[in-house]
């Protein structure tokens, strides 16, 4: 048994050693309590964050489609496209053209993503409660909304860690710092049609913003991996 254990330890050491040799920089993982946790390279963390963002975007698109099919009559689709500018995230000064985006710094990219993530925490909670109120809301929609809400939290944590490590900035991983006074979501119960329009508006805005997050993170990844080819052309 002892020889087996020794062999196992050797194998583990070899594998971990390969990681070290490849030049990956493990993130120092220490909680406030000082306990060690599994370390992961920055590159891998960014990959995971991007995966999160991609998934969230895809699910948000599915939610939007589900809601659209169930509740929104076709003529109203046009209405929503018109209201695309009234998403609450317009208050966040995020560049909207490629050339502009390519010119902003990594720090600005990450901070934009963090702002976006944090701004959507409360609206998603509101969305969960309001979707529950519909009689025939499909279960897939409800579960997806809940799932997205949870995933957004972990995305926030990942981005916070990235900021801390890539930019060496300390930042609070709490969404309470976000200004909630702009939120129009008080405890009123609107009428059905009004509620439908509002919820659809929320979902489309969410879809847009998750796409933004995904794009920003991918641009960031490109910059991290290969500085030369990712420069603005």
């Amino acid at each position: 048994m002892n020889t087996v254990k020794v062999l196992q330890v050797c194998v583990c050491v070899l594998i971990l050693g390969q990681f070290l040799v490849s030049g990956a920089v493990p993130l120092d993982c220490k909680d406030d309590a000082g306990s060690r946790c599994a370390s992961i390279s920055q590159e891998k963390l960014l990959d995971r964050v991007i995966q999160h963002a991609e998934l969230i975007y895809r699910v948000s698109e599915e939610c939007c489609t589900l809601f659209e099919d169930m509740f929104v009559p076709y003529p109203l689709h046009v209405l929503i496209n018109q209201a695309g500018n009234t998403c609450h995230s317009k208050h966040i000064p995020i560049p909207t053209s490629k050339s502009e985006i390519q010119q902003i710094s990594d720090s600005w990219l990450l901070h934009s993503v963090l702002f976006l993530v944090q701004s959507w925490m409360e609206p998603l909670l509101y969305l969960q409660t309001t979707l529950d109120r519909y009689d025939d809301a499909p279960n897939a929609l409800l579960s997806k909304t809940k799932w997205v809400s949870d995933k957004l939290l972990s995305l926030e944590q990942g981005v916070v860690v990235l900021i801390r490590k890539m930019l060496d900035e300390g930042i609070m991983a709490s969404s309470t710092i976000f200004d909630h006074t702009q939120s129009p979501y008080d405890g009123q119960f609107p009428e059905v049609l009004e509620s439908v329009i509002r919820d659809y508006h929320l979902l489309t805005c969410f879809k847009k913003d998750t796409h933004k997050m995904e794009t920003f993170l991918k641009l960031l990844k490109c910059r991290q991996s290969n500085k030369l080819s990712c420069l603005p052309q």
Partner: protein, 545 residues
């Protein structure tokens, strides 16, 4: 590139035919003047756009494409992603808006088709009939995939050339995909298109690429295979034949087992045909089937007493009981089971009757002929004569308490006035312990005998009634059972030899001298008994007449 025009466009007035972006950096819009021919000149219709995020003003199209008719081009400075645009088609002189459309740019992205499609052969199957290919392509040059600005997914389609139906593959995020299971000697056409991931707008298809793999004739490789297989098969068949021939006997037993002839275990059918009575006795008595436990467990048997205090009654009732002359009408059946069948079922599972009831049925208690007690219930529809007589036949047999000493075969030697049958012993050659067993067997077989006799003794009964009128007196009315009839009826099996052969051992005429009842076997053969012997056998005093 123009979007597809719907059929209804021709009847409409001026309208926007579509807006598209190919790389998410710029976009274009097209319109049509429709049926309004006067507006078809360039400049008659104009495009105005509004981006509410920046301002609520309407601006005119920044660039009307020179080379393409009715196209408005928004370059990268005028394009904002994640921003909704509203486009209006207006006729300025008349100041009318013919059409309006709102969208966000990422929702109108239709990527350019992939380029550089090529294929490589992966492998060909053994049979040479199928092959696999790997198809590769590059993303459209306009889409900025490298920086991550756009993430594309691709869809590959292929078909046999000139076929109408395209096979579709799954969406692929990489730039290559394999196709498996294509047929050689068929020409295939392959094409690819792409879209932004999690969006629904597929771009145009790429140029098709044709691929074909010639079939390699590989018949010679299959030939030895077929030969080998055939050889193996022949070998196996020969082996099977050998096995069958060598093990013929055993196989016959396994596959076609002999059908067992009906027989009793331990008894040789030949013995039954030609054997001695005592041998048969010992065999049958030792048989498990005939366990007359029932008899041991019947306490009421002991309670039945013969009471001969009343001579007058005795005189009349006994003969009457025996012969059933007194048609008292009430055949007092001790119905243990109240079912209407002829008593077949009840034969084998009789209940123990109330001793008092039975006692009350004794001749001394009854003034009329209501003594008919039997263990078997009878349907009243049966012939009363037959019933009574058969009951009479059975009753004495059953009520005899000392059946313990019975041999398997016995013969009736006398009748008591009470109507009981006195049996003479068979040839005894059994040991005491075996006797006990035999007794048990006898009891069982007696009961069965009785039951069988219940409905098979019709002949017997007839013979009874036939003989009765000719009897001179009550004493002499105890008829002998005709041996032929009894044997034939009491045991329906074929195991008993024909009467003529074994008649001799059955016809034992001497009465049992001892007061103790000698062992009486189940098979009874009636004999013309004499009255004195009858009584003496049962230890009864003679009736005072």
């Amino acid at each position: 590139m123009l979007p597809s025009l719907s059929a209804s466009d021709a009847n409409k007035g001026p309208h926007l035919t579509g807006c598209r972006s190919s790389e998410q950096v710029t976009f274009r819009c097209w319109w049509s003047s429709g049926t309004f021919q006067n507006l078809s000149e360039p400049g008659a219709l104009r495009i105005f756009y509004q981006t509410k995020a920046l301002s609520s003003d309407w601006y005119e199209c920044p660039d009307y494409t020179q080379t393409v008719k009715n196209e408005c081009y928004f370059n990268k400075t005028f394009t904002r992603i994640w921003t909704s645009y509203c486009i209006q088609l207006r006729s300025v002189p008349q100041n009318t808006t013919y059409d309006e459309a709102c969208f966000t740019v990422e929702n109108i992205v239709y990527p350019d088709p992939p380029v550089g499609l090529n294929w490589t052969l992966l492998n060909v199957s053994r049979s040479g009939l199928h092959f696999d290919v790997l198809v590769r392509w590059t993303p459209p040059p306009s889409a900025d995939v490298k920086t991550g600005w756009m993430s594309l997914v691709y869809q590959l389609q292929y078909r046999v050339k000139n076929n109408t139906y395209w096979e579709m593959q799954e969406l692929e995020s990489g730039t290559q995909q394999s196709i498996y299971g294509l047929h050689t000697d068929k020409e295939y056409e392959v094409r690819v298109r792409c879209k932004m991931s999690a969006f629904n707008n597929f771009g145009e298809f790429s140029d098709s690429v044709f691929l074909q793999v010639a079939q390699i004739p590989s018949k010679e490789s299959t030939f030895p295979m077929a030969l080998v297989l055939s050889f193996i098969l022949i070998g196996v068949v020969i082996l099977l034949i050998f096995i069958v021939i060598s093990q013929q006997q055993r196989l016959m037993v396994i596959f076609l087992p002999p059908i067992p002839a009906p027989k009793i275990k331990g008894i040789d059918p030949e013995l039954l045909k030609n054997g001695k009575l005592d041998q048969l006795d010992s065999l049958l008595s030792s048989h498990d089937m005939y366990k007359p436990d029932f008899y041991h467990e019947d306490p009421w048997v002991e309670f039945i007493q013969l009471d001969i205090d009343d001579p007058a009654d005795k005189k009349n009732s006994d003969t009457q009981h025996l012969l059933g002359l007194s048609h008292s009408g009430s055949s007092h059946n001790l119905n243990l089971k109240n079912d209407d069948d002829s008593g077949r079922a009840s034969c084998y599972d009789p209940e123990i009757p109330d001793p008092e009831d039975l006692a009350s049925l004794l001749p001394n208690h009854s003034e009329q002929g209501e003594h008919q007690h039997s263990l078997v219930s009878r349907s009243s529809s049966a012939n009363p004569d037959f019933q009574q007589e058969s009951e009479v036949v059975e009753t004495p047999i059953q009520t005899q308490p000392s059946w313990v000493n019975m041999d398997f075969y016995a013969q009736v030697s006398d009748f008591t006035p009470a109507g009981e049958v006195m049996l003479s012993p068979g040839q005894l050659n059994t040991s005491p312990e075996k006797k006990k067993k035999e007794e048990e067997n006898e009891k069982k077989i007696q009961f069965q005998l009785v039951c069988d006799g219940a409905y098979t003794s019709e002949t017997t009964a007839r013979q009874f009634s036939a003989d009765v009128p000719s009897s001179p007196g009550p004493e002499q009315e105890y008829q002998a059972f005709p041996t032929q009839g009894v044997e034939g009826n009491l045991w329906n099996g074929d195991y008993l030899v024909s009467v003529n052969d074994s008649q001799t051992p059955y016809l034992l005429l001497e009465p049992p001298p001892a007061p103790v009842l000698p062992p009486i076997s189940d098979y009874t053969v009636a004999e013309p008994p004499s009255k004195s012997s009858f009584l003496a056998a049962y230890g009864l005093s003679a009736q005072p007449r």
